[in-house]
């Protein structure tokens, strides 16, 4: 069965691109969230195998969302998707338990590699 992934980002275009990449490579995108809160809610509802999480988002940022997800499920895999200049935030996210991160603008290969590695597939 293909792995189930939740995509959280406030920019629809990024969600679309990530979903496209993932779907095309036989992952199942089980849901999308457009802010941190949605990310947390959908995680609890859908219990995906992995979340891609933007950091800078309205309502609730990705770090907080990830923290809450990890509280709910300490084994949750959360891959941050962030701009290169969000160093401070990214470090915070890593400290808070991010599985890995992808830098925007991303290349398909890096996205896939990060997902595969997170699942221990490569």
């Amino acid at each position: 069965m293909s792995k189930r992934i939740l995509v959280v980002d406030d920019a629809p275009i990024i969600r679309l691109m990530l979903s496209d990449i993932l779907k095309f490579n036989n992952y199942e995108v089980v849901g999308e969230g457009c802010n941190g809160q949605e990310g947390v809610d959908k995680y609890k509802e859908l219990k995906p195998d992995l979340v891609t999480m933007d950091i800078v988002m309205p309502e609730k940022d990705g770090i907080q969302a990830m923290t809450e997800i990890l509280e709910f499920d300490k084994n949750a895999k959360v891959v941050m998707v962030t701009a290169i200049d969000q160093r401070e935030s990214l470090m915070k996210a890593i400290r808070a338990g991010a599985t890995d991160y992808i830098i925007k603008p991303f290349e398909q290969d890096r996205v896939l590699s990060a997902i595969k590695k997170a699942f221990g597939e490569a």
Partner: protein
């Protein structure tokens, strides 16, 4: 089938999308087939079938569209596939190659259609090859470059090299920085040169067209939000939380621009984000930043417009970026030491600091990394290792490699360190992540001595990270620590250092988490929204309109059936009549026959005939009576009624999806009022009411320009300058207001000001001067009519034409735009009190209630909105004023026109009619009676726009298809009233 160009275009779009999918499928299956054939295996019938079906579908749709080339080519390809499918032909590599070629040509045809709506690519070669294959002839080899070369050669060479370069070199890690231009040269460039440069600007952007549309939708929203919030912040500097929002919006704009590949927007957004970043950090705003940021967002808007219309960027933003960067450096330097020369972007500073001297070359790193050895442990390190050993930790020596292409090496190293720290203790690591520079292009080797109680699988998987390879992972020998002395100090020290901090942070986070979770509970009820291309909604709207038509057709069918039911009843009646007559006849015959008993033979024959006739008649009666036509018609009637209900529900539903709050249009006016007020040096505030009022998207879109014009007018001409206002005893600060509200099926929009008001006399005089009206007309005009002169083309009351208004785009354009969405405009004004423009616009454009009337041989639809009443008038009641037919309607005189005279059609001679049917229509200002032949009734009709050829035809706005399939022209009451004057 007759189609309007719009319909055709829409269908072509559908066709293209569908066919591209089919082509994809065919290509995939062909590829599979090719490899199967190569391996000498059988191609599954299902695959052949799928390819055949796809080709067949493309052909079918294309023939419907009249695309001869697509049909011709696909037909040939389909034939091959069919033969193969029916095993009349073998699937060879040669056949597959020819099919590939054919479908490539088809693809290029589809691209032609997409770009130019024409079939340009030549199909002859390809068709020839397929035919040759079908005839079993030797086939000319496929010239693979031929068709591709053709399409590519249409691209300008510059662009293609541009694209190649871009694709070879993906966005650099620091792509947000401006391309380096020799600064000395740049500054020398004078304006005209810069302008020329702009005119011929070739964007470096490699735009990802697949995602562009989606990005634009998102960008538009972000631009609007940014404008609104920036304005808000400028008004009230204390709202520092807005800075966060602005920063976030700009960050999103930048991020998505990077993804789609619009470098210009990315650069601008980066520079703007930097400035906002400083504000965010320092928790304050800077006076001059607003002008710059507004300028920036305006340019982004320009880029947006250009992307939307041409899919390209035609503006050089280098200069503006430089200005923004300069300003950024100014403000960031404000509080720091002034002699600090090159202020770098914060993260650059950080990364620069991370590069330790002496670690700059790869060899050094490798040397240090590989020399990790327990023997080199310091005393303290050994101690802590000892304690961990006693606790039962396992020790590992790990070597990790970070890939050279990874753009964020130090961060990956940090990630690894953190992952390891969560599962155990890093005893030694080299190099530290702080000392790794992202700038290094070669791979980085990291050596680690690690202690953990976790299973090695878990540790390994924590090191499974993108851009990182695990080179070796070895359990270290136990003996290493056995001989070292014991001491516990270092262990506790480590624990003190790390644990309490972590616990504290965790507690804090849970608190925050709870709070947020509590808030989330209340907000989770919020309705989630999705964005939909408005064209899709338009289409849905059209389709639901079609449904209304179909329903009407069904209703008509029911009527027709009812008619035939009457016929059937008549038939039954005739049958029973025949039966009676037959009985009489047989009775009579038998009586006569018994009287002349001698003609036996004839008698027998006659009896036979009568019996046969009787049985057939009985059969006829039985079948006619038995058929349950009546019941079926009743069911049909009921079904039609529920169809009607469904279709109107669907229509309402679709209409509601098209409804959007007018807010989007309204918010931009805050900015406009601010800009204009600043320019004309007036104090003006804008008050907005009812921004959540919803109306059709199409109308919302068309309202922007007229409202902008009115608002500009209000600020520029309506509101007096502050001194004059004070002299008049008014408050210094002028107010412009914008209100929206619902009124039945209409929306009312009001644009007003508390300025000097409009003077009807001055308006009339001005119109006279401009030759819009003649002197003798003025006396006859009411005040209202005089005011309405401002809607005449070429009118402007401003004594002084400013740079803002009076550009020739006048209120006449406003009026025509409002009219084009079937709305009306009204003016209310009072000198020195202010002016109000009231607009009444229907909620939706696609479906209206109309009154159907007949004139001559044709049916016409009059929008019910403008019908005030229907009257009957006798010939003797009509009298003439100024040569115009007039009737008395209650206390008013009502001008009477015959429709045929206004729209110049062949009408009926009504002079002999005793009674005239008159429909009274109104455009909101004046009324007029339209004489018609007969009235059909009210009906919901779907508006179909007429093509451009008909724009000159006055009095008609569109057409509609009625239930019986006839077409009714929709009359334009406003134009009819104007024309009849």
């Amino acid at each position: 089938m007759n189609m309007t160009p719009e319909e055709r275009e829409g269908i072509i779009g559908e066709f293209l999308a569908e066919s591209t999918e089919h082509l994809q499928l065919i290509n995939d299956k062909l590829l599979e087939a090719e490899s199967l054939v190569k391996e000498g295996q059988k191609v599954p019938d299902a695959d052949l079938d799928a390819m055949f079906r796809s080709a067949h579908t493309i052909k079918g749709t294309a023939s419907f569209m009249g695309l001869t080339k697509v049909v011709g080519l696909t037909h040939e390809a389909e034939t091959i596939l069919q033969r193969i499918k029916e095993h009349k032909m073998e699937i060879t590599l040669e056949a597959i190659e020819i099919l590939f070629d054919g479908f490539d040509v088809l693809e290029s045809l589809l691209n032609d259609l997409k770009d130019s709506n024409q079939e340009l690519t030549d199909i002859e070669e390809s068709v020839k090859r397929i035919k040759a294959l079908l005839e079993g002839d030797a086939v000319a080899p496929v010239a693979s470059s031929e068709t591709k070369g053709e399409t590519e050669s249409t691209l300008p060479p510059v662009e293609s090299t541009e694209k190649q370069e871009a694709s070879q070199e993906p966005l650099p890690a620091k792509s947000v920085e401006m391309p380096e231009v020799s600064s000395a040269k740049e500054e020398e460039t004078n304006i005209s040169e810069a302008e020329i440069k702009n005119a011929t600007y070739i964007s470096k952007s490699n735009i990802n067209e697949k995602y562009l549309q989606q990005y634009l939708v998102e960008l538009e929203q972000n631009i609007e939000d940014f404008n609104a919030q920036l304005l808000n912040l400028e008004e009230d500097n204390s709202k520092v939380d807005l800075i966060n929002n602005l920063f976030r919006i700009m960050h999103t704009i930048k991020g998505s621009a990077g993804i789609v590949g619009v470098l210009e927007i990315q650069s601008l957004a980066h520079s703007m984000e930097n400035i906002l970043g400083v504000c965010r950090e320092k928790g304050k705003t800077y006076e001059n930043m607003f002008t710059l940021l507004f300028m920036g967002i305006d340019v982004i808007k320009e880029l947006y417009d250009s992307l939307k219309t041409t899919q390209t960027v035609n503006k050089d933003v280098t200069q503006l970026c430089k200005e923004l960067e300069k300003y950024y450096k100014e403000i960031i330097n404000e509080n720091s030491s002034p002699d600090k020369q090159d202020v770098l972007v914060k993260n650059e500073e950080a990364s620069a600091a991370m590069t330790e001297p002496g670690l700059s070359t790869d060899q050094d790193i490798k040397r240090i990394s590989t020399t990790i050895d327990i023997s080199q442990f310091s005393k303290e390190e050994r101690k802590s290792a000892e304690d961990l050993y006693k606790e039962g930790d396992q020790f590992y020596q790990i070597f990790i490699q970070i890939e050279g292409s990874c753009p964020t090496k130090s961060m990956k190293a940090f990630l690894l360190e953190e992952h390891l720290r969560k599962l155990g203790t890093i005893l030694k690591i080299s190099p530290l992540f702080e000392s790794i520079s992202d700038e290094m292009n070669s791979e980085i080797l990291i050596g680690i001595v690690y202690a953990s109680k976790e299973k090695d699988d878990k540790i390994k998987s924590s090191l499974s990270v993108e851009g990182v390879n695990l080179l070796s992972f070895d359990l270290m020998a136990d003996e290493l620590f056995s001989s070292t002395p014991e001491k516990k100090e270092s262990d506790t020290m480590i624990k003190e250092n790390s644990k309490p901090v972590e616990v504290g942070a965790a507690v804090q986070q849970t608190d925050v988490g709870k709070e947020v979770a509590a808030r989330a509970k209340t907000s989770s009820v919020e309705i989630s929204t999705i964005r939909i291309d408005s064209q899709k909604l338009d289409k849905l709207m059209n389709l639901s309109g079609e449904l209304v038509i179909v329903r009407a057709q069904y209703a008509r069918l029911v009527t027709l059936f009812n008619d035939s039911l009457t016929e059937q009843k008549e038939l039954l009646r005739i049958l029973s009549d025949i039966r009676t007559k037959y009985e009489t006849f047989t009775g009579e015959y038998k009586r006569i026959a018994s009287r002349n008993g001698n003609k036996r033979k004839q008698d027998e024959k006659m009896n036979e005939l009568m019996e046969s006739l009787s049985s057939r008649l009985a059969y006829l009666e039985m079948t006619t009576a038995k058929s349950n036509v009546m019941g079926h018609i009743h069911t049909l009637d009921e079904t039609t009624i529920s169809l009607g209900k469904l279709s109107s529900d669907i229509q309402t539903g679709v209409m509601q999806t098209r409804m959007m709050p007018i807010e989007g249009v309204f918010t931009r006016f805050k900015r406009i009022v601010r800009d204009i007020a600043k320019q004309v040096e007036k104090d003006v505030s804008l008050e907005i009411e009812g921004e959540d009022t919803e109306l059709d998207k199409k109308i919302v879109d068309s309202l922007g320009d007229p409202l902008t014009h009115m608002i500009r007018n209000a600020v520029d001409h309506g509101i007096e300058d502050p001194e004059t206002r004070v002299k008049k005893g008014k408050v210094r600060n002028g107010t412009v207001y914008l209100k929206a509200s619902h009124q039945g099926n209409n929306i009312c929009i009001e644009v007003g000001d508390d300025g000097k008001g409009l003077d009807p006399v001055a308006i009339a005089q001005s119109a006279l001067k401009k030759g819009i009206i003649a002197e003798d007309q003025i006396d006859k005009m009411t005040e209202k009519e005089k005011l309405n002169l401002v809607f005449m083309p070429g009118f402007s009351t401003a004594a002084q034409v400013t740079g803002l208004s009076g550009r020739g785009v006048g209120m006449d354009v406003v009026k025509s735009m409002i009219t084009s969405v079937n709305g009306v405009v009204d003016i209310e004004t009072e000198v020195d009190k202010g002016t109000r423009f009231l607009m009444k616009i229907p909620l939706t454009l696609a479906i209206i209630q109309a009154l159907l009337v007949v004139v001559g041989a044709e049916t016409y639809a009059i929008p019910l909105e403008s019908v005030t009443e229907i009257i009957k008038t006798r010939d003797e009641d009509i009298y003439s004023i100024d040569g115009n037919d007039t009737v008395k309607l209650r206390d008013h005189a009502l001008s009477l026109v015959e429709l045929e005279k206004v729209i110049k059609i062949k009408g009926t001679d009504r002079s002999q009619q005793k009674e005239l049917k008159v429909v009274v229509i109104s455009d909101g200002e004046s009324q007029i009676g339209v004489a018609v032949d007969s009235l059909i009734g009210e009906e919901e009709i779907v508006i179909k726009s007429l093509s451009n050829h008909f724009t000159e035809v006055k009095g008609v706005t569109g057409a509609s298809i009625l239930g019986d399939g006839t077409i009714a022209l929709i009359l334009d009451p406003v134009a009819i009233i104007q024309e009849s004057r």
